[in-house]
Symmetry: C2
Subunit: 172 residues, 2 copies
């Protein structure tokens, strides 16, 4: 999966492994996070498969940069992925799991669990709304779609906050 996501990023513009990592930590963080080592491994796998090509560029203020470009084969594979059957992925939510099994916990511990979740949700919301505000007016469909995924995140977080309020109310 990571391979596909990286192909997608390379399709937007050529970049180094470091930059891929930065994207995973910033622009696409709310729907895709990845380990640094894994990114570099995947990149060399992509070049090995001929889906990406490397060009060593002199580093401006730093070590040399290995800039990865997507190849035509890569673009094909990316396209195949984008148009392939969308099968539902396995759900796995640690927070919900904990909550589900937290029936026997004393009340303050439970309240803290919910409070922690609220805090991370709130800071995520602020961050996403900042991204939304600072995003340029969508020029093309590409940009509109990217904003749409952002809106998805915002809507989900808002729903979660409302739900948290409900649960907190109900448990007192």
């Amino acid at each position: 999966m990571l391979a596909r996501v990286i192909l997608g990023l390379l399709d937007l513009s050529p970049m180094t492994g470091y930059e891929v990592k930065r994207h995973c930590d910033t622009t696409i963080r709310y729907f895709w996070q990845a380990d640094k080592a894994q990114i570099y491994r995947t990149l060399s796998q992509l070049t090995g498969d001929g889906l990406a090509a490397v060009e060593t560029a002199p580093g401006v203020g730093g070590p040399a940069r290995q800039v990865h470009h997507i190849t035509d084969r890569g673009r094909e594979v990316l396209n195949d992925w984008l148009t392939s059957r969308l099968d539902p992925q396995p759900e796995r939510d640690v927070f919900l799991a904990r909550l589900f099994f937290s029936g026997g916990l004393p009340e303050p511990e439970l309240a803290e669990l919910l409070a922690t979740r609220r805090k991370t949700a709130e800071s995520l919301l602020v961050e996403l709304e900042d991204m939304r505000r600072s995003a340029p007016d969508p020029a093309d469909r590409r940009a509109r779609l990217r904003l749409a995924t952002l809106d998805h995140g915002i809507a989900q977080v808002r729903t979660e906050l409302d739900w948290l309020t409900e649960v907190e109310k109900e448990l007192t």
Copy 2:
């Protein structure tokens, strides 16, 4: 992680690996799915660590059943997990990733992607609402919490459907 979830299930009632799998496919499916082989491996790891104990029971209409109970040590570990720091888990949403990179796709393909997502969301919603309806009135906090996680799922799916409507409208 799976180990903790299984401990949680065993804490609700002793069960076989097969039954753990069934839970992952039904009751807790909307927040935790797991591979059969992994479940059995994890179970034997749990007994190896003394967090669970096995008792072989004669199978009623089938092979012998290896019923796993949670031990006191297991209950401790479960409790430690439930009260430990809740750190945000890595987000990974294949659908959003695809949508994010689908800017260059022809319109019908894009529409199909959204339609597929809508279909799975709708059927999930039906399923969750069925679960909700057939759930007994919550007797204790345990049951209320379990219903709350279900409500979380329902709220998220509804939000997603609304969002889908927005996106579909915007893209025509």
